[in-house]
Symmetry: D2
């Protein structure tokens, strides 16, 4: 009865601040740290890894498409080899900060459109899985159940953590509806939805259908309005339902 709480961290860039990592880091167990392509820069990465260490949070790499202006949410038609290389590059860069801080890189989670492309396309899924395996076969890959990348990762022996989305909508096939700007949500409603997903393996899709869902990590976003209230409600909801919060061990 253990569950992980992951969030995207380190999305500030230069003088631009996004989210409140110093606060949000207190509530999560795993951090997906941006690697400088869609968000983050080298200074933000160092600072974010330091924060994660301070709060005992496991650090994963959160590679994205090379498009800072679009925040990695504008799909780009890269070749499979370009995706492999962009993932190795970004994960390697973050891994260096993690190891310089005396920690071990815990996982990789693709960001935004890259995440969606991996869910749908075999070539993208293979590129990402190959990159993860070539860097360190012990790394977890955070993805969603029911997608192409899950099947590919399992067939390649890549260690997978399936995740549930606290604050994003699902379509009837279990796919995620990625929006450019995350919307506000009611904390209690989000918490109840999360507990339902984790306990019953079910969630209501955006079209009203009830769909099966499965995961051992819950993703909460730190850049939504009321993010701290939401993550607090989710934590309390999960603990109240008997779950202990922890990141998957190696």
């Amino acid at each position: 009865m253990q569950i992980d709480l992951n969030a995207d961290m380190g999305e500030s860039f230069g003088m631009y601040t996004m989210g409140n990592d110093a606060e949000f880091m207190k509530y999560i167990t795993s951090a997906n740290v941006a690697c400088g392509f869609h968000a983050g820069d080298s200074s933000v990465m160092k600072r974010t890894v330091g924060l994660a260490k301070e709060f005992g949070v496991q650090v994963g790499a959160h590679p994205g498409l090379p498009d800072l202006q679009g925040f990695g949410r504008r799909e780009m038609n890269l070749t499979s080899d370009e995706i492999y290389c962009d993932v190795v590059y970004q994960v390697g860069a973050l891994k260096a900060f993690v190891e310089a801080a005396g920690m071990k890189l815990h996982h990789v989670k693709p960001h935004g459109s890259l995440y969606g492309m991996a869910h749908r396309r075999e070539d993208v899924a293979s590129a990402i899985c190959n990159a993860v395996r070539d860097i360190d076969p012990q790394l977890y890959l955070y993805i969603m159940k029911n997608g192409v990348v899950g099947r590919v990762a399992e067939s390649m022996g890549v260690r997978v953590v399936y995740e549930l989305y606290a604050d994003l909508g699902y379509d009837a096939k279990g796919g995620l509806v990625i929006t450019r700007v995350h919307e506000a949500h009611d904390p209690a409603g989000v918490a109840a939805r999360v507990v339902g997903m984790v306990q019953d393996g079910k969630v209501e899709a955006l079209d009203g259908t009830e769909i099966a869902i499965e995961g051992s990590s819950v993703c909460v976003h730190g850049d939504t309005p009321g993010a701290v209230e939401i993550v607090t409600a989710v934590r309390n909801g999960l603990e109240g339902a008997g779950f202990s919060l922890a990141s998957p061990s190696y």
Copy 2:
């Protein structure tokens, strides 16, 4: 009587080709591979590491200032912490490609203005040395004798390889004269100059002064006109003078 021959490699970017790495890699023993800030991109890095492996060349990271347009040759006023972070980021990215290829990262050599800044400024030198040590204390740092960074590296216990420049001019204090565009040179003249530097520890500065010089690696550039003729002449000159060509071992 062993000497290393190093060159900057992997400086192409996207559709833009610079140098002829596939040819030049045959003549050197250590490659300094650009890491995507001043030159190179993730696909070029993978390809360049593959070439180095094919020809048995040791691979080092060649981090530069974040300025692709200026090729890292326009000085930028970064803070010491920004330089630390930019070096960790770039070296980490390249290290991932090297390890994915089953090799071990051999060294770090700062590029262009970053190299010059490290030679002159204590804060820059410390930032780079700290980055190298935090990533892997076994890494060599390729720099020039007679600069601030040499003193800092030695005091910190960072392993140093001092290098000599086959095709760039020195000022009277032993400093390098970095130009935006490298000029053409006479192969035989370059080779004789290199052998003189290595054997006698002396070279003529641009102002005609004879200066003392010391190093166990010779840097040759692959993007000068006639680069292959020059490196061939240097190799032949050194071997004719009784030196064997090899990269420093771990």
Copy 3:
């Protein structure tokens, strides 16, 4: 019996050289100058406009997707408003260099994937046409016949120049087959094909079909192997067939 010869110019970036503009500019009547998103930088733009002025070549803006690494040839899912803004930005930047040189901006030609997207998608076509009209209603828009953008431009009253491709293949519907790297061609064959397209309004598609084609400007690429030989052959072929070479007047 007048025909225009256009080519993409100003595609170098920083230390990276692409094509031989100083030579190729002698053979063309209209230059499509890259604007810094997919290729070119501000210094290259100034130099290229200067070259065009020297050789009496009309200057057009050649805006592309914001992806230097992909050279604007990797499709990106931008919104219509983002495309409008990216086109206004790039065309405005180039227009300033043209006017600073005492000339008048002649046309706009979308580059690479942006060109292909305009050919197929109504929203992209409208965004580009709106941008051109808002900047200067006298500007020509260089595009291909048979696409969405032609219909949109004509309905909006944007002045259109239809172009033929000397050195790229067509599919059976008259669409262009955009490749990442342009291939080498036989000069005489290219010239004969161009004269055929211009005189007879027909060309053989890649699948062997004969398709109808129409245009008053011929596009030749300067970054293919043998580009100067090809453009010389095309010029000679057209002049031999009785055409005079000139850019469309205002």
Copy 4:
């Protein structure tokens, strides 16, 4: 007895928001709009020009160094020609948005380190003045008195608006102390200081010296904490002292 109130606007980028332009635009008479190098992007530029039009605010271009991560506040060693080209590029891009909105570009104000470099260096000052003159000799150039650029602009016949800084400190020679992050200030204190500068032509430098100062425009920053309170106090202070607020006319 007329005074201008200018502020840097349009400094958001992609998903990153900086300042509250929709609110701040109500209080100023001239907007310096970022042009995509140190801040801003094409979509932000369009939106910001639209806001300025809505509130009757004159629009100037605010070109900066090509360094988004450093927000144009990290000095870079560009050549004079590179600066000329980067200014023409950025001003041209913004000018297109201004003209597409049916307005006329009002002025140019260099940003951050570029502003400081122009204040101190003849080559940088000349490059900027040449760019402004080549684009449109009617453009105002917003700068500080007592610097190199003022002398150069006046000798070249470039129209100058000297400005005073409401919320930044001066050194004993009248130079501005540029900080990476702007600090908070007391609105009443800032207002009194501004009125003093405008009425008496004097201000206290950071070292306690009283220095002579002169200007017909007051710059207030919108990204400081309490920026709206400060600009309101400054407006009220100036109007209370008998000044009417307006942008310099053509």
